[in-house]
Symmetry: C2
C-alpha cells in the first residue's frame, strides 16, 4: 500500500464505539417481520408466538475489558454473565439462556478455564439461567469471551430505550460511580505490584468499590419490584457507560431532552471517599465512570407515588423537550450540558 | 507460582476442542423448561410459543481461523455469516437474525471494517437474514469476530444430531475436501509471497478450491429440497470438521455405529487434482479436511427412492449397530475404523 493510500484510510479510534457501530450499521434494513427491534437497544427483540425473544451479546477482551493481573478468573466469569443478563433486565425481560464463545491462548491451563466456568455457572445458577451452547477455540494471544444471552418477555411488558414522554420521571437504581473507583484502586495496586512484586496489598477498606468493579449484580430485583407494583417504565437502559452517556441514549432514542439534578444522583459514601482519595469529584465518577450495571429508566408522572417509596430507586430528574437538550443542574444551581465522556473501549488508552 | 504448581496444571491443547468443551460443560444441568436442547448440537433449541428458536454461535479468530495475508475482508465477512447460517440449516431450521460481536485492534481502518460489513450484509441479504444487533469493541491485537445466529423451526421439523436408527441411510450434500485444498493453496502462496513480495500469483486453475475455502455457501437449497420432498432427516450435522469427525458425532449422539463407503464419498475432480499436486489422497481431504459446510444427514430406508434421485445428494453408507463401531470401507474392500483427525483449533499448529 502506498503512503498516499494509507493516509486516505480512517482511524477507527476517531469514531468511538458508538460512532463506529452507527457508521457500519446505519444502512441496514430489517427484512424479517419477526425482527421487531434490531441494532440500537440493549437487546434485539424477535417475535416468537405470543412472546418476545430478547437477544443480547457482549464481548470481553483481555487487555481492554479486563486485566489478568487483578481479575480473578472466577470473578471474570461471573461478571461476564452478569453484565449480559443486565441487558435483558434493561428490556424488562427475563433471561433464560446464555451461549458462551471463548477464545483462549495456550497460556491458559485447564484449571484456569475451570475457574472461569465456575464463575459463569455461579451467575447462571443465581439468576436461573441455562448455559445452552457455545463455541470454544484457540487464540494466538490472550482471551476473548463472547457471551450471548437470550431472554423473553410478554409483548405488553417489553421496554425499549425510546418511549419516554416529556415530563416523565427519570429514575436510577442503586448507586453510581463505584465500579470506576474500584478500577482506579486495582490499577494503582497493579502499578505498586510491578514496583515491588512481594507486596501484600491491603484492600480491606476498598471492599465496596472492588465488589462493584469485580462482581456487579444485574438488577433483577428492581425489575421484580417494578413488576410487582404494576409499574412499566416508559424507557429503560442499563448503566454500563456512565450515567451521562445513558441519559443521552434515552434522549436520542425517545427524541427528547432531559434535566437531571446532581443532588439526587445516588452516591455511596464509600465510593465518595475513594474518589476524593484520587482527587476526583464523585459526581464525575457517577456521570462518566462505567460498569455500574444499574438500571436507568423513565416512568410516567402517574407512577410518582409508587416509585418515590421504592427502596433502591432514586428519582434524579425528568424528561424535557428535545429543544431544551440534556442538562445536569449542579448543587450550586448551574446548568451544564450533558456530554458522553463515558468509558469507550475504542479510544486509545494509557495503561 | 512455583515450578511445582506450574507442572500440576493441565495444558488445554492436550484435550482438543471437543474434549475441552466436554470437560467444562459436562456437569451442566438445564433448569428452564424452555431449554429443549443445550450444549452438544449445531444450535441450542429453545421453546417459544408453538415454534422452536434455534441459536448458534461461532468465533473466528485472526491467526487461528483466518490469515489476513490471504483473506479478503469481504470474503471473511461473508464466510463468517455463512458458516453460522449453516448451523441453523443443519437443524432443518430457517435462520432469521444474526448478532455480530467484533473486537478489532486500531490497525484496522474504518474502510477495512466497511468491507467486512459489506461481506456480512451480502450473506445476510442472500439468505434473507437480519443483522439485528451486536457489540463492537477494541482488541489489543488482531481481530475476533463472534457471530450468533438465531433461527426458527416448527416443532415437528427440527432435526438433531441424535435420532438415527440402525439401517438408516447416511447422506451428504455437494462434494468434500475442497475447502481444505483451497487452504493448502493459499498457504503455499503465502510462503511464496514471503520469499518474493513482488510475485503475482496465478490462482486461476485453483478457482474451485479457493472458492470452497473463501466463500462457502450454507446449504439452504438442500434443506428446501428435502422439505419439498417431504423428507425429514432422522439426524443431521454440517460438515465443518471433516466427514470422519461428523460421522462420529452423529454416531455418538444417536448411540449407533456407521459404515461409509469410500467409492461413494463425493469427490470433485478439481479438488482431486489439487490434492494430488500436494501428494495427499483426495479421500483423506474429504475425511479430515474441514470447512466444507455441506450437510451430513441420515434418512429412514423408506425415503431411499426419494433421496437417491436428488441432485447434489449422495448416499454414502448406512447407520450400524453401536457394537459394530464406525468404519470406512475402502475401494479395495478394507474396513478401516473412522477416527476424528479433523481440523482442531486447539491443537498446536505450525504456520
Amino acid at each position: 500500500m502506498s503512503e498516499k493510500e494509507k493516509k486516505a484510510l480512517t482511524d477507527i479510534s476517531s469514531l468511538g464505539e458508538f460512532g463506529l457501530i452507527d457508521h457500519l450499521t446505519k444502512h441496514i434494513q430489517l427484512k424479517n417481520p419477526g425482527t421487531l427491534k434490531g441494532i440500537g437497544d440493549d437487546a434485539a427483540v424477535l417475535e416468537a408466538g405470543n412472546e418476545l425473544v430478547l437477544v443480547s451479546k457482549d464481548l470481553l477482551v483481555e487487555g481492554i475489558h479486563f486485566d489478568m493481573v487483578y481479575t480473578p478468573l472466577k470473578h471474570l466469569g461471573y461478571k461476564a454473565v452478569a453484565v449480559n443478563l443486565s441487558d435483558i433486565y434493561a428490556m424488562n425481560g427475563t433471561p433464560a439462556q446464555v451461549i458462551i464463545g471463548l477464545a483462549v491462548s495456550s497460556r491458559y491451563s485447564l484449571e484456569a478455564l475451570e475457574e472461569l466456568y465456575e464463575g459463569m455457572l455461579l451467575a447462571c445458577d443465581k439468576y436461573g439461567v441455562d448455559m445452552a451452547g457455545g463455541d470454544t477455540t484457540a487464540s494466538p494471544s490472550g482471551m476473548v469471551l463472547s457471551i450471548t444471552v437470550i431472554g423473553h418477555s410478554p409483548k405488553e411488558k417489553v421496554v425499549y430505550r425510546g418511549g419516554s414522554a416529556v415530563n416523565d420521571l427519570i429514575c436510577v437504581s442503586g448507586s453510581l460511580g463505584g465500579a470506576y473507583c474500584g478500577l482506579l484502586v486495582l490499577k494503582r495496586e497493579k502499578a505498586a505490584f510491578k514496583g515491588n512484586p512481594d507486596m501484600q496489598p491491603d484492600l480491606g477498606s476498598y471492599e465496596h468499590v472492588l465488589e462493584r468493579q469485580l462482581k456487579p449484580e444485574p438488577r433483577r430485583d428492581i425489575v421484580e419490584l417494578l413488576n410487582k407494583a404494576g409499574v412499566v417504565p416508559t424507557s429503560m437502559i442499563d448503566v454500563s457507560d456512565g450515567l451521562a452517556s445513558e441519559v443521552l441514549h434515552l434522549c436520542k432514542n425517545s427524541g427528547n431532552g432531559a434535566v437531571i439534578y446532581e443532588e439526587h444522583i445516588p452516591i455511596d459514601q464509600r465510593m465518595a471517599a475513594v474518589a476524593h482519595e484520587f482527587n476526583i469529584d464523585p459526581t464525575t465518577c457517577a456521570l462518566s465512570g462505567g460498569e455500574d450495571y444499574e438500571l436507568l429508566f423513565t416512568v410516567g408522572q402517574e407512577d410518582y407515588e409508587k416509585v418515590k417509596e421504592m427502596e433502591g430507586i432514586q428519582i434524579i430528574g425528568h424528561v424535557a423537550d428535545a429543544t431544551q437538550g440534556a442538562h445536569l443542574v449542579t448543587t450550586s444551581g448551574q446548568w451544564i450540558e450533558l456530554t458522553a465522556q463515558g468509558w469507550d473501549g475504542l479510544k486509545k488508552r494509557e495503561e
